[in-house]
């Protein structure tokens, strides 16, 4: 799954990392070349001072005037060295070299060479050699400086820069994440509303959300409304169709009941008429079902007591005790008309067969579990499976029983649920249990 937030943050972090690396590399290179230039400039100054300190003593020997030499060249292995190579092959070496030697080139006057090379006790030196001509005398002068202290400074600078950049990177990413999260909080509201729509607490999204997703929320609302309207419209027109079809059917039933037909003929006709009625009834009811994801949600605490009350009224003459266990306090993403149809048919069947008591239990587990039990004669075990098979009518003596169960099976199928028949241990009659799984998006 794509997370926009993660995308934003990783994208930003990558970009920043590349930019910072470039910055780091650039600054280190600049610092290094600057310090080299600085060292070379100092070596050149020292070289000029040394050239100025050279003199030829009365005995014709070339010497340096000690007082004019920077003391650093006097301290042993100080890292600052010089070597003067005279034309006659003699060398004047700084005292700091102690008894070490430096390989130095002989250069023509005016020639200058800057290079790196090994020094005493493992030092790495920046060397500057140049050829000079002074008072008719040609010589080469090499001045050297140990780079180690400079390298250490550069490393310190590197560490400092790295730490700084690291902290900056972290800070920017965190700030950015905060900004993005704040931005997405608006989306969270929309997401929460979508969740509420899916669990049935809301019919429509109220929060239109930020401009970027407004077309999405508007379209969702439009679709939600359309589904509702279509369902209502088709239910209304089915109601009208039922109304139109059933008046003539009722009339035919009546006429047939009154016709003085031979018993066999009457029964045959009446069977056919009954078949037509049952078929129409079944198909109309099937067509009315909203199935998963349609219609208004089912609120057991609101709708089940009304249904129980209706049944008590309808079976008032028989004085049935229709009881109902505790109802889950929830809004369930099942169409409530479908659920009333399901429960109504189950309870109606139970009432038809019960002698005194009918009991309904609804529980929420992995799905919605419905149990309807009665204290009637029950159904023998070997007849339970055929009863659940499509289209079977075990009980023609009680009108509509077979149809009721057929509708129940259709409904259970639509909701990917399961149905089971058993002997009720509490009441002794038939217990029908239906399990409807909650749609995946419910969680």
């Amino acid at each position: 799954m794509i997370s926009l937030e993660r995308r934003f943050v990783t994208g930003l972090a990558t970009t920043l990392l590349a930019a910072f690396a470039l910055l780091f590399w650039g600054s280190i290179t600049a610092v290094r070349s600057l310090s080299e230039a600085y060292v070379l400039a100092r070596l050149e100054h020292d070289a000029e001072a040394l050239v100025g300190a050279l003199w030829v003593n009365p005995s014709g020997q070339t010497r340096l005037r000690e007082g004019r030499i920077t003391p650093i060249y006097q301290q042993p292995l100080s890292g600052h060295y010089f070597v003067v190579s005279l034309a006659d092959g003699t060398e004047i070496r700084s005292r700091s070299l102690w008894d070490e030697t430096l390989e130095v080139p002989s250069l023509m006057p005016g020639e200058v060479r800057a290079y790196l090379g090994p020094g005493p006790v493992g030092q790495r030196l920046q060397l500057r050699s140049a050829g000079y001509s002074k008072g008719g005398m040609d010589f080469s002068l090499t001045v050297a400086e140990d780079m180690a202290p400079m390298a250490a400074d550069i490393r310190r600078f590197q560490m400092f820069a790295l730490t700084l950049l690291g902290f900056a990177l972290l800070a920017i990413v965190l700030i950015q994440r905060y900004v993005v999260r704040r931005g997405f909080r608006v989306l969270d509201e929309v997401r929460e509303q979508v969740r509420q729509v899916s669990t049935g607490q809301l019919q429509q999204l109220q929060e239109p959300g930020p401009l970027e997703i407004r077309p999405l929320t508007a379209e969702l609302n439009r679709l939600l409304k359309q589904v509702q309207q279509r369902l209502q419209r088709s239910r209304r027109s089915l109601g009208n169709l039922a109304h139109a079809l059933k008046a003539p059917l009722s009339l035919m039933t009546r006429e047939l009941d009154r016709l003085p037909l031979p018993a066999a003929d009457g029964r045959r006709l009446s069977e056919q008429l009954n078949r037509i009625s049952v078929l129409i009834e079944r198909e109309l009811k099937r067509a009315r079902l909203a199935g998963e994801g349609g219609g208004q949600h089912f609120v057991p605490r609101r709708q089940v007591p009304e249904l129980i009350q209706a049944l008590r009224q309808m079976y008032a003459a028989r004085g049935l005790d229709i009881s109902c266990g505790p109802l889950p306090d929830a809004v369930l993403p099942f169409d409530y008309e479908d659920m009333l149809e399901l429960l109504g048919n189950l309870l109606d069947n139970a009432c038809k067969w019960a002698s005194r008591r009918v009991e309904l239990q609804i529980a929420l587990d992995d799905g919605m579990v419905i149990r309807v039990a009665d204290d009637g004669p029950g159904v023998p075990e070997d007849q339970r499976a055929p009863l659940l098979r499509r289209g079977s009518r075990l009980d023609e003596q009680e009108a509509g029983h077979g149809l009721g169960l057929a509708i129940v099976k259709d409904l259970v199928g639509d909701y990917h649920g399961s149905i089971g028949l058993a002997r009720s241990s509490a009441l002794g009659g038939l217990e029908v249990s239906v399990v409807l799984p909650l749609p995946a998006h419910h969680a």
């Binding site: 109304h243 009350q309 109504g344």
Partner: protein, 221 residues
Amino acid sequence: MRLLLVEDDEQLADGIATDLRHAGFAVDRADNGIDAEYLGREQIYDAVILDLGLPGKPGLEVLRSWREGGLATPVLILTARDSWAERVLGLRSGADDYLGKPFHFEELSARVQALLRRSAGRAEPQLTVAGLRLDEERQRVQLADGTEVELTGTEFRLLRYLMSYPDKVLSKGRLTDHVYEADHDRDSNVLEVYVRRLREKIGRERIETRRGQGYLFRSRS
């Protein structure tokens, strides 16, 4: 017992009305919601059979307006719209029973009888008062000594109403309302004729005349 039948399909209404009359009911008819609402308000019906899909005004609205107006007449909804959601809605709107179409007349008749019994506060299906047993199926009455007496339609309706409210003074107007249909000739002298004929059949002392008030059916001899 006088019923109001509200059904917009004319042929079906004809059929049901005929059957109901055969079963000993006086039947008035309405084929739209507005007439039905008006007739129902007259409060003279013992029960109403109400279709829901009516022109003019939907049946459920008619029913609600009756109940809001305090009308307590038992109402049986007889409709093609018989999903459970609609049943619940119908019963919640004040109906007393609900029957889906198509139906057998016996079922309708049995339910109407049950409603009438319930509204008169009776539990047993047979109407029996002081040894008199009314056979509602065959429209006869069995006397205390076991002899059966045939009744005409009007006699049966009159006796049933009297026996439903024993020891209560019933005015001539009330009896006329509940025994005759709306378009019937309502001459109270005709009622007196029927009362006299009934007395001849079941015994003079059963029906007491309360001058200026009406008649009373005595449960004790």
